[in-house]
Amino acid sequence: MTLIADAITRVYREEWARVVAGLARRLGDLDLAEEMAAEAFAVAVERWPADGVPPNPGAWITTTANRRAIDRLRRESRRDDKQQEAQMLLDDSPPEPVGVIEDDRLRLIFICCHPALGVEARIALTLRLVGGLTVAEIARAFLVQEATMGQRITRAKSKIKAAGIPYRVPSSEDLPARTSGVLAVLFLVFNEGYLASAPDQEAVRSDLTSEAIRLTRLLRVLLPDDGEVTGLLALMLLTEARRPARVSASGELVTLDEQDRGAWDARLIAEGQALVRERLVAVSSGRARPGRYQILAAINAVHTSARDIRDTDWSQIVALYDQLAAIDPSPIVVLNRSVALAELDGPEVALAVVEGLELDQYHAYHATRADLLRRLGRSVAAHAAYERAIELAGNTAEIAYLTRRRDQLGRPR
């Protein structure tokens, strides 16, 4: 019985996106596709325990969902549906080749992450239609009411339909920009999991990080030649690898320099570093210039290859941040670079860089300043900076860490 339940869960994880994506193409209706896919899995839950798992479970689900869709259209028997039914019965052929890469799942990802949809809607749609998370799960992950999340998804689906957002892979000319939009959505999901921003939340939400990794793996299967897709996957793996060491038993964030490196996940590090090496070879041999995710992945590869914080190759990290700053001149990149710079040239040099940045509303800016001031023995200023960082931080473990650091300072007089 549990074996069957496990099988259904596995098939669901593996086949959901493919089933929804195929139905969406044949039906021309995301809503109906989603509903029929869900029904087909419900039928599986009912029947498989008695009948056994079919030899090709994915095909069984697709066939069941197709039959249900035809039944539904027949019942409703509106004229345009009749026409659609006829088309659906005929259309078993592969889709017409319009995009660069032909895979229904890729179309599904691009439609969910379309730039005409709001960012929150993109995230929700991607998790629902591609990831197969339930509306309740997504609502819980983003701390909104289930009804609110349901409405967000419904509204996005109606916009897709009414505005005519096409179900296709973008043309090769638009592909890089659109892919980077998809990566941004996946990275947002990952980051929300890795540094949950809300109070009263677990510090690390492994459900979200692992879902983001799973979806990025899928995207890499679909777009194997896109260096940024590989870069983002590597970045996620190398970040996720450190998760076991990131929060202490007492629920406090542990910074990189204090982490138990023995607790890092060696398997994820090996996989992530192999991907970084793959990109290094591609970049050094060809015209492709590394984008932001590849550079961030490389930075994380340097961190994870040091067995001890003292073995970290800081000059390499600063050089990579310089490369990043050249393509992304945002003050956040400068701030992150300054952390490495402090190790290379000392906290005074780093502080001089940090002080000029206009990031007053960003907690990490104050946390970085606080740490640099503390190391320079400027306790009063450090205390004030910790206060501000605590005020702005949302993550419970980070607040606990910052509070301890603040309280370790001598009391300002």
């Binding site: 505005a163 005519g164 957002i165 096409p166």
Partner: protein, 118 residues
């Protein structure tokens, strides 16, 4: 094919050169918009387009009662009003968005793309 309205909004009060900073800027925008309109026609997207007179020239009519009530001025008080629009016919939103980007560049304004029903 779906029909889309591509609307351009501008300030309530027109200056000497409408919504443009100078005569040259106005002429250039008009010329570019004219060329864009020609392209729309050649490529079969064109349904209709025109610019509107100032919002102060608008009149609101409520004919729901026994006698129509006529009010001077636009329906909503605002700092910005619809200044003109295109109606195009395109196969999907991606095409409409690409055309909107071209139109926006030509007329020097932001363009709102909105599908018509059915």
């Amino acid at each position: 094919m779906t029909q889309y309205m591509m609307s351009v909004y501008g300030p309530a009060d027109y200056a000497e050169y409408g919504t443009y900073p100078s005569e040259e800027a106005m002429k250039q925008a008009m010329a570019d918009t004219g060329k864009f309109n020609e392209r729309l026609q050649e490529q079969g997207y064109w349904v209709f387009a025109n610019g509107l007179a100032q919002a102060t020239t608008a009149t609101v009519v409520d004919g729901q009662g026994a006698e129509p009530v006529i009010t001077d001025g636009p329906y909503l008080e605002s700092k910005e009003y619809l200044g003109g629009f295109w109606i195009i016919e395109a196969p999907d939103l991606d095409v409409a968005l690409r055309l909107a980007a071209e139109g926006s560049k030509a007329c020097r304004g932001k363009v709102e793309v909105r599908p018509f029903q059915g």
